[in-house]
Subunit: 218 residues, 2 copies
C-alpha cells in the first residue's frame, strides 16, 4: 500500500507541473454522494461566464450523468469512470489530460467520487483539497471522517436552505471542523437559493491570484 501511494504521489507531482505550466489553479472537490458537488459546479459555471475560465474533470463509479449535466453549461468537461474504484488517483488524471485543453482553462475543478474515506489518500496534483458537507448529512461528520477534513483547505457547508428542517447545528458543525482542522476556511452556501455562492467565487479568485498574481493572462 505504501508503494502504491508513493507511486501515486510521484505521478501527482508530474500533473502539478503540467498544471503550473498551463497556469491552472487546480482544486480537488470531495464529499459524500449527493452533497451537491455537480450542482455547485453548474452554479459556478453560470456566474463565472466571461471571467476566469472553468474546466472540470469529473469522476464517477459508473455513468456519465455529471458530465452531461455540466456540458449543458458549455464547460470543458472530461468524465472519468472508475469502474470499481472508490476514488480518483493521479494516474487517472494523467490519462484525462490529453482530453482537455488546459491552455483555455484558468481554474480546473476535479470532482472526486462521492466518498468520505478513500479519496483523501490520493493526491492528484491539485493545489487545494476542498470538502463539501451538506446539512442533511449531520454535523458530526468531521469527527467521524476526520482525515478528509484534516487535509482540506476549505469546507463548503451546503444545503443551508434545509437547516430549519433538520437537527443540524451550524455552530456544532463548525466546532467539529475546527477540532480536526483549526485552519480550515468555512463558507456556508445553498446551491438552491444561491446564498454564499459569491463568497465561494471570491475564494476562487483570491486563490487564483495567490498562485499566479493579479497580472492578466495572455
Amino acid at each position: 500500500m505504501t508503494d502504491i501511494l508513493e507511486a501515486n504521489d510521484r505521478i501527482a507531482v508530474g500533473n502539478a507541473e503540467v498544471f503550473g505550466k498551463n497556469r491552472n489553479l487546480v482544486l480537488n472537490l470531495m464529499s459524500s454522494p449527493g452533497a451537491g458537488k455537480t450542482t455547485l459546479l453548474e452554479k459556478t459555471a453560470e456566474i463565472f461566464r466571461g471571467e476566469l475560465r472553468l474546466g472540470v474533470i469529473t469522476g464517477d463509479v459508473e455513468t456519465s450523468r455529471d458530465a452531461q449535466r455540466l456540458r449543458k453549461h458549455k464547460l470543458p468537461v472530461v468524465q472519468l469512470t472508475t469502474g470499481s474504484a472508490c476514488h480518483l488517483d493521479a494516474n487517472m488524471i494523467t490519462y484525462a489530460l490529453p482530453h482537455i485543453d488546459l491552455k483555455k482553462i484558468d481554474i480546473l475543478i476535479i470532482e472526486n467520487v462521492g466518498n468520505l474515506v478513500c479519496p483523501a489518500g490520493f493526491k492528484l496534483g491539485e493545489d487545494y483539497k476542498i470538502m463539501m458537507l451538506s446539512v442533511t448529512e449531520g454535523d458530526d461528520k468531521p469527527l467521524k471522517y476526520p482525515r478528509m477534513f484534516r487535509e482540506s483547505s476549505l469546507v463548503l457547508i451546503n444545503k443551508i436552505d434545509l437547516l430549519e428542517y433538520t437537527n443540524f447545528s451550524l455552530k456544532e458543525a463548525k466546532a467539529n471542523v475546527r477540532k480536526v482542522n483549526p485552519k480550515m476556511d468555512i463558507i456556508d452556501i445553498s446551491c438552491t437559493t444561491g446564498e454564499g455562492i459569491s463568497d465561494w467565487i471570491a475564494w476562487l479568485n483570491q486563490h487564483y491570484q495567490k498562485k499566479f498574481g493579479t497580472e492578466a493572462r495572455t
Copy 2:
C-alpha cells in the same frame, strides 16, 4: 484482490454458521454518510421493545458516537472502529462476536461504514444486504453506484419528510432502483415523522419468520 475477497468470503461463511446456530437474522445496512442509519436503529429499538430483540454491530472510521447513541436505547451494541478502512469485512465481524451475546438477540443489524462503493464487495455473513438512500442525496444514486443496489434485497428511501424541499422524484428514484435490481423491495420512510417505519418493522418480522419459521424462540 481476488485472494483477499475469497478469504473474506470463507470467513463470512463461518460467521453465518455462528449466526444460524444462535437463531440470528443478520442484516448488513449500508448507505452514504449521514443517510440516517443510526437514527433508523434508534427508532427501530423504540418500537421493537418487548418483541423480537435487536442487537447492533456498528462500524465507523473513527469515534464511537453511533454506539453511544444506541446504548441510550438499551441495545446491545459493539462498536468497530476501522481506522483507515472504508468498509467492514468478515474478519472484523468475527472479532466483534465475543463482545455481544448472540443468544439474547433475534435480529442483528450490522451498520456498515457510510460509503456507497466498497462495502458492497465484502460479505460479512449476513442474510440480507439493505440499502438506505436519503431523499437529499438525489434520485440518480442507484445508477451512479449500481453494485450496492444490485446486491441488496431492500432499499429504504429515507427523509421523505424533506421531499417537498428537494428536486428528488420518488418515481424516478424507484425506476432507477428497478433498472439495476428489478426484484428489490422498496419502502419509503421518514425517521423524523415515523412514516413507513411500521412497514420496515413488518419486513423485519417477515424475514425473521422466513428464516426461522413462526415457532416462538425458547
